[in-house]
């Protein structure tokens, strides 16, 4: 019988969520929630398109016209993520959501709640945040912190597993 990890020595699992594609984000949340339920400290670092998972559904955001145009095209919201394949102008994700519901697979929004319940930390990248012109009000309240690359690297150095999705 192996001894369990002591609370002070809990292993860390760090994931960079670069992608904003529903299928890839789903894989990230499956691994994050599983690791958390296996007594690991889990941190998900959302950057670039991945930030769309944590953005509120707003028509647009940004401080200047370029940012507003980009953020209008690249709309946020965990329930409006595209698929990495067979997106078909949104028909693909719509079909996928129905199939997931039929198999009782949680949606991305549900996975955010499950992850938070298990103590998974959701971190938003400040660089993407800065050049896209986002404000903190553009993000859902489930975000734990706003941080940069050094935070992730230090977490990865201390970590047992680190992934980039």
């Amino acid at each position: 019988m192996e001894k369990p990890c002591l609370p002070a020595g809990r292993e860390k699992f760090n994931i960079v969520v670069f992608s904003g594609d529903m299928d890839k984000v789903l894989a990230a949340f499956i691994l994050a929630t599983t690791a958390a339920s296996m007594d690991m400290d889990v941190s998900m670092f959302f950057t670039f398109w991945g930030l769309n998972v944590l953005r509120k559904k707003k028509l647009t955001s940004g401080k200047n016209i370029l940012q507003k145009m980009m953020n209008f095209m690249n709309r946020g919201g965990a329930d409006r993520l595209p698929l990495s394949k067979f997106n078909l102008l949104g028909a693909g994700p719509a079909m996928m959501k129905i199939m997931m519901k039929q198999s009782r697979v949680p949606s991305i929004e549900e996975f955010i709640k499950i992850a938070k319940g298990l103590g998974v930390k959701l971190v938003s990248c400040t660089t993407t945040f800065g050049f896209m012109g986002f404000a903190k009000e553009d993000f859902i309240p489930e975000v734990d912190s706003f941080a940069g690359a050094a935070t992730f690297i230090q977490g990865a150095r201390e970590g047992k597993i680190s992934y980039f999705i």
Binding site: T34, S37, R104
Partner: protein, 76 residues
């Protein structure tokens, strides 16, 4: 096998049976046995792996007609 608490995960796919198990085990007292009912075959290897990670004791699986009954004893 005798179990103190049952957890119904029929129809749930990976990783939900494991996540539900992690939540449920907190309600048990040390020494009690949890029976997890599942239809996802992944449970056969996932539950021993989960037990190894968390320090709980994996007691085994009973399989019949695509239904799995997995037993876990709470140790910590």
């Amino acid at each position: 096998m005798r179990a103190d608490v049952k957890l119904d995960c029929f129809g749930l796919l990976c990783p939900m049976p494991i996540i539900e198990t992690a939540k449920k085990i907190k309600e048990l007292k040390v020494g009690e046995i949890l029976e997890v009912l599942a239809t996802d075959e992944g449970i056969k290897t996932d539950m021993p792996a989960w037990c190894k990670a968390t320090g709980q004791e994996y007691l085994g699986v009973e399989e019949a007609k695509g239904e799995y009954r997995v037993y876990v004893k709470k140790i910590v």
